[in-house]
Point group: C2
Chain length 113, copies 2
DNA sequence: TGTTGTACTGACTAATTTGTCAGTATGTGG
DNA sequence: CCACATACTGACAAATTAGTCAGTACAACA
């Protein structure tokens, strides 16, 4: 019974994780903290990401209400992504996660495990 | 370049997620909040989990220093798992995650998305 | 004696997630 | 005319994670 984290779970922890879980979502959110960015700007600012994955994650984050997509109708297209008000409520949680993560990295580097 | 969350990442968010990410880890931690439990008690208290997955996740959590395994040498074997002091530092983070997750579930149920 | 319960491991298979590669439309610049 | 950049999509392949199934040792119990 493999269950994807993508379907909304009854467990609040899983529900939250389903939103930020994804190979590049943390980084994307991190980048967008400084303000809206175009798809291609994001791609260039995240080393290693492919356009396909970027767009897939962006779409999921938009679906979850974390990001907003606004498109200027011109050619070549210009699409900008920004964090929504709702997305902002994630910030303090991510901050806590980050603090713990930093401690954990330090601990692992000291060789404890 | 698929990168597993299992290898410790330089990103603190990923580092934290690698510890709690896993289909059943949240639930396992949740169960163990009430005190130490035997492997079989855990298995019976988590509907849907298989023994294989339980043990795999328990071992990872032990490796990460979140859980402790203590074994009484007798037959049939008796192994108890408990949350370590270090594991306890996760609690406030999980709490925040949980709070946000609950709000998110409510929001999704209201049909916003 | 045969069955049961415990805490595992090994060898798989299946599901899910990531990543690769080739397109698409179209205005501008050479 | 031709290449270029943009923001995508579709069809796959590869990697990772989850789950299935059988098997182990051995005391206790019927």
């Amino acid at each position: 019974m493999p269950v994807s984290k993508k379907e909304i779970s009854q467990c609040p922890i899983d529900a939250m994780l389903s939103v930020i879980d994804g190979r590049w979502k943390g980084t994307i959110l991190w980048r967008l903290c400084d303000g809206p960015m175009r798809t291609s700007e994001l791609r260039r600012s995240i080393p290693g990401i492919t356009e396909r994955m970027l767009i897939r994650h962006l779409q999921e984050l938009v679906q979850d209400g974390i990001l907003m997509r606004h498109e200027e109708k011109r050619v070549p297209p210009c699409v900008r992504y920004s964090i929504t008000k709702y997305g902002m409520t994630l910030a303090p949680v991510l901050e806590e996660i980050c603090v713990w993560g930093r401690k954990h990295i330090a601990r692992v580097e000291k060789g404890l495990r």
